[in-house]
Amino acid sequence: MKPADYAEGPGVVGRSRRAELVFGRGGGRSALMRQIAPYPFHVTRPFALDAARSDLATLYLQSASGGIYRGDRLDLSLEVRAGAAAHVTSQAATVVHDTGAERARQSTRIVVGPDAFAALTLDPLILFPGAALTVETAIEIADGALAILIDGVAWHDFTGEGRPFGSLVTETTVHDPAGRLLLADRSSITGEELSAASGLLGPERGAYGSALLLGVAERLPDPAAIEDALDALGCHAASSPLPNGAGLGVRMVAANGGRITAGVEAIFAIAVEAMLGFTPARRRK
């Protein structure tokens, strides 16, 4: 099936689905205590990929339907309870098809309990011409917890005509358990603005990405090391302390989504090394 066929596929309009994953610590490992994954969500079983931390559960999340479609409302709730450690990652990039008159929405709520570790690392969204998407991510992080959120955005016209995507509206918030807002990263952008020779990303840049590395300063990587690693991968990036002592933020821009994918992997590896003290195994996809 070609991408153009997906964009016009029948029976995929306006799905409203909610997935839920809850990890808890028990028996020396992080167990998936609750799993709800209705179509189009699909999750693998949790894997223990890291010999240095066999209690770190890694789970692949994928879409069984080939992407996000017109009017979709896809919600994910991820909870990592006290002392547990979980990494949820995407199997591949997520294509967002032409949404026509009905914007699609994707929301994620992440609750990280005391002394827990949660990571959500996502391959870039690939926005097709006419795609309009709202992405909302809300993180609540407890004392002593560590969290990683990394994602990216690219765009592509499969006809080669350079048609822009519609628009992307995003909001990522981080609160402490008392409800205090630590940071809010919000933006609205149109495909036309990014496709045109505007000054937003700079010349020859067709993708971007962000990372939030949340936790106390002594468990965070050196910002310069992140920038050096990303430079080597062709991602022009910068890392700086976040507001309210929330952690470190990373911005990166690159020529294409492939480089952002490599950047996501690199940031995850550097962050895990600083936060948990070992180099994580490559998450094969």
């Binding site: 807002l181 990263d185 919000r186 952008i189 505007s198 937003l200 310069a224 910068a238 700086s240």
Partner: protein, 221 residues
């Protein structure tokens, strides 16, 4: 007529607001080897106006201006400004620029300036530029429309002053670019306020953050 004169007074580079110390990422762009033609410089500044000033600074200023008589409400907006500035050089620069403006107004006795300054000094407010502009400009007698235009003009002139000092553009050519950008400020100032403070500023965020760790810098950000 007086409200327009007051807006011109505050936007005038002769007023000691401290804005001359900030390039808002332009120095980082220049230092990274991004050779900016005058067209590219115009595009960078226009992008910053459209996706940062209009959607973040202007929103915070306008909201705080409406709340200027209630410093608790202004402080809440001030905290939101802090939370939405993810790049540290911009966050610290906004606070420093706010402190500079506030110091000048406290010294000339602008109503409300000393109360806001006392809050900032006591750690009960951060004193970001947009919220401080709201407090002191309201106290100085500007109306909201004049305050927004002064803020927009200062955003443009700040970039262009920095560009001239950095040798990116000549002084006369810079004024040609300012002239081209004034209709953008006017257009954006007239658009309805977004419902939230938001920005998209990857290029300048990256440039300013990388440059902030450099040893040789002309500007604070």
């Amino acid at each position: 007529m007086i409200s327009q004169l007051l807006a011109i007074w505050q936007a005038d580079a002769a007023f000691p607001s401290g804005g001359f110390a900030f390039s808002n990422g332009l120095e980082g762009l220049a230092a990274a080897g991004d050779r900016l033609s005058s067209d590219e410089l115009e595009a960078v500044v226009e992008a910053a106006l459209r996706r940062r000033w209009a959607t973040a600074d202007r929103v915070a200023l306008a909201r705080a201006f409406e709340a200027a008589n209630d410093l608790d409400a202004v402080a809440e907006i001030d905290r939101e400004v802090e939370a939405t500035m993810l790049a540290e050089p911009f966050r610290l620069g906004s606070r420093r620029n706010g402190a500079g403006l506030l110091a000048a107004h406290a010294r000339i006795g602008t109503p409300g300036a000393r109360d806001w300054q006392a809050r900032v000094r006591a750690g009960r407010a951060l004193g970001h530029l947009a919220t401080t502009q709201a407090v002191v400009w309201s106290g100085a007698g500007l109306d909201r429309s004049g305050a927004v235009l002064a803020s927009g003009y200062m955003a443009v002139s700040g970039f262009m002053t920095a560009a001239v000092r950095l040798g990116v553009i000549g002084a006369i050519a810079a004024q040609s670019t300012v002239r081209k950008l004034l209709p953008v400020v006017a257009e954006l100032a007239a658009t309805p306020l977004p419902g939230r403070i938001e920005s998209f500023s990857f290029r300048l965020d990256i440039a300013a953050t990388r440059h902030a760790r450099g040893d040789l810098r002309l500007f604070a950000n």
